[in-house]
Symmetry: C2
Subunit: 342 residues, 2 copies
DNA sequence: TTCATCGGGTAAAACGCTCGACGGCGCAAG
DNA sequence: CTTGCGCCGTCGAGCGTTTTACCCGATGAA
């Protein structure tokens, strides 16, 4: 069966090639009557224009590249799911498709991130995969291609980004704990991303400069995967170092859940003995017992916004972008006033 | 900055257009000397051939469409992640890219699944998103396009598929529990997929026909999301109906974890009071306490194999495919002999 | 010496669509 | 009755590759 082309539609409908093309692209130049006649034939043959030909002629692939990290359990991370859903929603609504890539060693080594754009396979790129070591991204400085770092940023590099405001999260969290009277706090940080470092540093700063008296913060690394396991191990370490801690602050909810689990396993009550706080407000945070106090990061919104910005970059509406999205405190049962006499 | 084309490379290297093209496609026709001369220029300009033009001329997009379900927390399902990783690995190794789509209502309603292939945006489709209601897939019967159902199947429809052998899983699980002496078993089934139904029916059959005496199986639905929450609720229901159950069989590990959680909350020991068993062998199954006995489903392999089959379908090596992948029993601590006197 | 063969390269016709330039026609204004 | 202008539609020149013939010169056999 021969594949149909726009030519067949033209012949059958009695109009010219160009007319059919214009109809298919909803060009206002064409009258409703003509449009109807053409569409009738289009529908009759269930015709769909060849996208390669379209891409070639129009110089646009109507495709966005999305690069996700190569963590073993990457998909199990709700974090990513939310972002991708947001991106998908936005991209689809604008007629764009999503080309998915995983930032494997191979992907990086063969510079696929450049090829994708240079070969026009994708019109722009949303990079969710960066950690602190992604120096190769410097090729995107100076914006040779529409490129956005999603929920990450590199201080000092001129790379477009859309991210949650981790510094503000750190402040909200610190103020909450300090306000409850905590002065000996354990911090489980993520140090393999710049956003993680920003969070840590701002949290430490806020605790140091608290008007009602500085807090004593001990911090440890929660591991590169920001996982429950990592949080558990980090908590063990913290409590070993400082058994007198009254609060644990984890840089994300999953690590916080690990911390809570450690408390249960060691017969410590949350928040009576130790308060535990996370960041992100993942779905399960509301369901654990006690509910996890956290700072809400709207990752879906990050996805939406990144995609928006990328589209704007692509059609020249903006030249660069460095958005920080607001966060908000979510107080649940896992944090409480510092125990009397502690 | 003008975009370079193959023409520029031809001019600069002193060869013809066709020669450059042949070089770029590793055609044996060209001598090593020529190849080197051309590649030198290619590298000098960091040239990457336009993929739309390629696609148009070669009639292949070198892209595979992957459609995933529209569950709210779909990405948090390790199940999907494993499959996609497998697909990605295989596709990439063959020079194919992945076009990701989510089976939203919109996606279905606008028949994107057809458009994608008809417009040649993708050369083939891997459909992971099907549930029992996906009747619209009938358009793929008779193989108008390379299409494979991943880890699902529709009895009675001639649709290609690659799936884990759920019937064999059911038998392995049943034999394990029956062999331990259990005769009053609660089954948490998933009924929104055909594979789920196959599992349930085969499990019931195996229990009915057990040589050493049929078991009494009570089954309930675990909910459409096959989630921990669903498993928890289903367990509550089962234990309400039949407080004398000695074993709970869940159609996947996540529901089994929900069941174990219910036991903990109700001060029942696993497996001393009640044995609990799952299916899939997700990563966490080995880490819970006690370890979850389960039937191992190698979802990564399902991804690899589906992609393999799709590629074979695409280049005509096979005409259809209905693969069932083997499963194996994994015994951990959550199942034990039926309690004495019960 | 002649001629078939072959390795290695080239010319040029697709591939199927977009879009800017162009033009015919009818109607209102001059 | 011209002229000008808008509205609708058409012409046709690309877009950047792939790929099928075809060509040419060297080589070896007859």
């Amino acid at each position: 069966m021969k594949r149909r082309t726009i030519k067949d539609i033209a012949k059958e409908s009695g109009f010219s090639l160009s007319t059919v093309s214009l109809v298919l692209n909803n060009h206002p130049r064409i009258s409703q009557a003509t449009r109807d006649r053409v569409m009738e034939v289009v529908r009759k043959y269930d015709f769909h224009p060849n996208s390669a030909a379209r891409g070639l002629a129009s110089k646009s692939s109507r495709t966005l590249s999305v690069v996700i990290p190569n963590l073993s359990r990457v998909f199990s991370d709700i974090y990513l799911g939310e972002i991708i859903s947001g991106i998908y929603e936005r991209a689809t609504s604008q007629g764009y498709k999503i080309l998915l890539d995983i930032a494997t060693a191979q992907f990086i080594a063969s510079q696929e991130y450049t090829k994708l754009l240079a070969s026009r396979r994708a019109d722009g790129m949303l990079f969710i995969a960066s950690d602190i070591h992604a120096d190769y991204l410097h090729v995107f400085e100076g914006a040779p291609y529409p490129f956005i770092l999603v929920n990450h940023l590199f201080p000092g590099k001129r790379l477009n980004y859309v991210a949650v405001d981790y510094a503000s999260s750190a402040r909200l969290a610190a103020e909450h704990l300090l306000g409850l009277g905590h002065r000996r706090i354990g911090l489980i940080a993520g140090t393999n991303t710049h956003t993680g470092l920003i969070f840590r540093d701002e949290f430490l700063r806020a605790c140091r400069e608290w008007p009602a008296g500085a807090a004593d913060v001990t911090w440890v690394d929660g591991g590169d995967e920001w996982s429950q396991r990592g949080g558990y191990a980090a908590t063990a370490k913290l409590m070993g170092l400082r058994p007198d801690l009254t609060a644990i602050m984890a840089a994300n909810d999953r690590m916080a859940l690990g911390a809570m689990r450690w408390m249960v396993d060691h017969h410590l009550e949350v928040p009576e003995d130790v308060s535990v706080m996370g960041v992100d407000d993942i779905q399960i945070a509301a369901y654990v017992n006690p509910g996890l106090s956290t700072v809400r990061h709207d990752l879906y919104q990050v996805g939406i916004e990144s995609c928006n910005r990328l589209l704007q970059l692509m059609n020249g509406e903006i030249k660069e972008c460095s958005d920080l999205l607001p966060t908000s405190l979510v107080v649940r049962g896992s944090t409480g006033r510092v125990p009397a006499g502690k």
